[in-house]
């Protein structure tokens, strides 16, 4: 079961590169801590999901790269080719020389429709290469213009054209003190549109990852590259093959087969390192939790703490809301690692904050003309606010 990745904008492309790199180097890692047959099954599964094979044996990432400026895409393509271990497809990218000026409306209403056919064609070619399509993984940021605007547009198109495939959007939550003035507008427009057309929203907050770099990894000068590598590591440990409870003989066929249930989740940052299961979730109610364990002693790991009904909402039994996936094969040389993917109230506060800030700006009509210029009217903003308020309210009432 293969996943087609769509990398959008500067953020999406940089992260996408790190993700494929992390996946492949883990797949080739010699310290898997498991038997040879297990390792081979793992490698084969990983390969089939994310890479296709070319004649000379170099795996090609199943990805489509989209950006409105050529610089980042070129960098990404060359970094991949330089590694020698994998590369992007020759014709898998689409770029212009224009940029989007951090304007969501420009990305969504101008670039999107204008380049719709070319982008969807590229995606279709990738889909046709897959024996079986498991779904789409769309990497984008919320705050800019390209990733967010075109990302929302492309996701909507995917919903129309591939309505039976799953779509997961990886969203980068901007720094609270970000540099883009209209980042809050871009964010709320992105979220409200994705809410309608995506199946799952996997969120990484820049602030949280930054803290991980600073406190857990003790990096002094934190660059975007460091942040992206941490992100890629987290994503890799979610996406690499695992066994679920039902079928312990084959690696799960569909890595995107995470039951996101009612609404696209706004998931909290997964935890890294050795078996750290943070138990102070008492005031944070979850709709669903997924724990992924890799490495030594996974069979004897005790996850009973996650089955506490107090963690979940009253209308859902823990048995329905909690899942564990395991594999003995260690990830990226960590003897033991655990990831928690959570659909909970964790992001209510950040979401509320962004909505609040955006509303304050909107109330004084700041910068609105830049959006109305390209077809995003005030009603669209109001619709977005309404949707997001509903989401916040639903989560608060869990």
């Amino acid at each position: 079961m293969s996943i087609v990745t769509v990398q959008l904008g500067q953020c999406g492309n940089q992260i996408g590169f790190e993700v494929f790199d992390a996946l492949l180097s883990d797949s080739h890692s010699s310290q898997g801590l498991c038997c040879k047959r297990e390792n081979e099954a793992y490698q084969a599964s990983c390969k089939e999901r994310f890479f296709s094979e070319e004649e000379n044996g170099v795996p090609i990432a199943r990805a489509v790269l989209v950006d409105m400026e050529p610089k980042v895409i070129n960098q990404t393509l060359s970094k991949a080719a330089q590694s020698g271990r994998w590369k992007y497809g020759q014709h898998a990218c689409f770029c212009q020389k224009q940029g989007s000026g951090n304007n969501w409306a420009y990305g969504y209403s101008v670039h999107g429709p204008r380049h719709e056919e070319s982008i969807m064609n590229l995606i279709r070619k990738e889909v046709e290469k897959c024996d079986s399509l498991s779904g789409f993984f769309i990497i984008m940021s919320m705050a800019g213009g390209t990733g967010s605007g075109i990302g929302a547009f492309v996701t909507q198109n995917l919903q129309d054209q591939y309505s039976n495939s799953l779509k997961m959007n990886q969203i980068i939550w901007p720094y609270g003190t970000g540099e883009v003035i209209v980042q809050n507008y871009n964010s709320i427009l992105t979220l409200s549109h994705l809410y309608r057309s995506s199946d799952a929203l996997l969120v990484h907050e820049n602030d949280a990852v930054h803290k991980i770099c600073a406190k857990l990894m003790n990096i002094k000068q934190i660059s975007f590259s460091d942040i992206n590598q941490v992100l890629a590591h987290q994503l890799g440990s979610v996406f690499q093959p695992t066994y679920s409870a039902e079928s312990s003989f084959h690696y799960r066929r569909n890595p995107l087969g995470i039951d996101w249930h009612v609404r696209p989740p706004l998931s909290g940052p997964p935890s890294l390192g050795k078996m750290s299961l943070n138990k102070d979730l008492h005031f944070n109610t979850s709709i669903a939790n997924l724990v992924i364990l890799r490495g030594k002693d996974v069979q004897s790991a005790d996850v009973e703490g996650f089955k506490d009904p107090a963690l979940y909402t009253s209308w859902l039994e823990p048995v329905n809301a909690f899942n564990v996936w395991k594999t003995q094969r260690a990830f990226s040389k960590y003897e033991k690692s655990a990831v928690l993917v959570s659909n909970s109230q964790f992001l209510v506060k950040p979401l509320d904050m962004i909505v609040g800030k955006a509303w304050n700006m909107f109330a004084s009509k700041a910068y609105i003309h830049q959006y109305t210029k390209f077809g995003i009217e005030e009603e669209d903003f109001l619709d977005s606010f309404t949707s997001l308020e509903q989401v916040v309210a639903s989560y608060c009432n869990l």
Binding site: S132, S134, S165, W315, Q390
Partner: protein, 426 residues
């Protein structure tokens, strides 16, 4: 239960050993059929024959294919499912519904139930069709349900109090998710089938087919699997022979069943007026019984008065409704609209389709354009038919959704001061 008319001459022709042979044939033709000895014991209502017959009835009535799942279902559960299935098929004897579910008694009733099912339809043939080994890649074209679905016992759902609508939403989301997974899996299966058919062109000894199916390709790849397939086919063959033997010796069986029916106490007529479960009459002295009788009579009178009052009130209210010229005109108009809609729907469905495709599974064969025979169904035509049916249904769905939306808006508008925010369209 009426006695089945049997040709006595046929029975007389058969010899003394014909009955055990007939029952043995029946037993061989059914999956895991019990021995003739069980049947004989059941005639005399012996308790040891009961559980085998419960299990046989369960196998017959359950549409699930054989497997370990069935074996693990408890006898009580099987018995309960059998009772409900028979009831829904209209089984007339009440005694069966009252049997205990632990398999301690009632084998004669169960034998009667089995013979009722055998008389109603070709049970051994149906069961054989269920466990048929398809050699080709098949799919069904018609949309009728093969058998009334019994399904595995569902978890006992108590509808206690109000259900949280979020739980319902969650369930809907889960259902939708599984549905999409199913569709993707089917698409994957089709792509792979297509590849196999393409790659094995020219490999089949039957020129008409031209390429191998999955089963046939597997057989070539894995000789041991081929041996297993051969054994399965031989087993199927034997069952088929058993079915034929059963059909030849059937009359003997029915004569014997007549005698079984004869040993039963006659059932009370007018079964419909009796409740399925008789009310429990407490044991008490005569005096108390009198009191109870009088109380019941008073209650009955009160209820009759209440019913009368209600009826009068309703008629007063409904006067004009249900009677009068405007009502009958309105009813006529309704009837015409419904007929028109149904006609349009049917027309829509029948528009492009040629003769209705046969029921049951069809083998998938990949051919060059134009090479299809007259009896063959062409995929392109079927797809066209299905697409037009889908379009019709979608149009109806959209119309109904529009009506719902209007109704909701009307309801919301009726409450002043309420702001209605519809959910974001999906």
């Amino acid at each position: 239960m009426r006695r089945r008319r049997v040709n006595p001459a046929a029975g007389a022709r058969a010899g003394a050993g014909a009955l055990p042979e007939a029952i043995a044939a029946l037993s061989r033709s059914l999956p895991s059929g019990p021995s003739p000895e069980i049947f004989r014991r059941a005639k005399f209502d012996r308790p040891e024959a009961t559980s085998a017959l419960w299990q046989l009835l369960f196998r017959v009535l359950s549409p699930l294919p054989a497997g370990n799942a069935l074996a693990s279902i408890a006898l009580e559960v099987q018995a309960r499912l059998v009772k409900s299935a028979l009831c829904s098929q209209g089984y007339p004897r009440l005694a069966l519904a009252q049997l205990p579910e632990d398999g301690s008694q009632g084998s004669r009733e169960l034998l009667l139930a089995l013979s009722w099912l055998l008389a109603r339809g070709p049970v051994p043939e149906q069961m054989l069709a269920q466990t048929r080994v398809p050699l080709g890649d098949e799919m069904t074209v018609c949309q009728c349900e093969a058998l009334a679905s019994l399904g595995p016992p569902a978890p006992h759902m108590e509808a206690e109090g109000p259900v949280d609508v979020r739980h319902v939403q969650w369930l809907m989301g889960k259902l939708r998710f599984r549905w999409r997974q199913l569709v993707s899996s089917q698409q994957e299966q089709c792509a792979l089938l297509s590849k196999i058919h393409l790659y094995t062109r020219g490999c089949h000894s039957d020129q008409n087919l031209g390429h191998l199916s999955v089963t046939e390709a597997e057989m070539l790849r894995d000789p041991e699997g081929g041996q297993k397939l051969l054994r399965t086919l031989e087993h199927e063959s034997r069952r088929l022979e058993a079915v034929l033997a059963w059909r030849r010796s059937e009359p003997v069986f029915w004569q014997w069943m007549d005698t079984v029916l004869g040993t039963c106490a006659p059932e009370a007529p007018a079964a419909a007026s009796q409740p399925t479960f008789l009310p429990w009459v407490p044991e008490c002295g005569d005096g108390e019984l009198e009191l109870v009788v009088r109380e019941l009579q008073t209650l009955e009178e009160e209820l009759q008065e209440a019913v009368e009052r209600r009826r009068v009130a309703w008629e007063a209210k409904a006067r004009g409704c249900g009677r009068g010229p405007e009502w009958s005109a309105a009813r006529q108009a309704f009837r015409e609209t419904v007929e028109k809609e149904l006609g349009a729907l049917q027309q829509c469905w029948e528009q492009d389709s040629g003769p209705a495709p046969a029921h049951g599974p069809h083998r998938l064969v990949r051919r060059e354009d134009g090479a299809a025979g007259d009896q063959d169904l062409r995929a392109a035509e079927l797809i066209r038919t299905l697409r037009s049916q889908e379009a019709c249904l979608e149009a109806v769905l959209r119309q109904l959704q529009g009506q719902c939306r209007q109704e909701l808006a009307r309801l919301a508008g009726a409450l002043p001061g309420l702001i209605w925010i519809p959910p974001p369209g999906r």
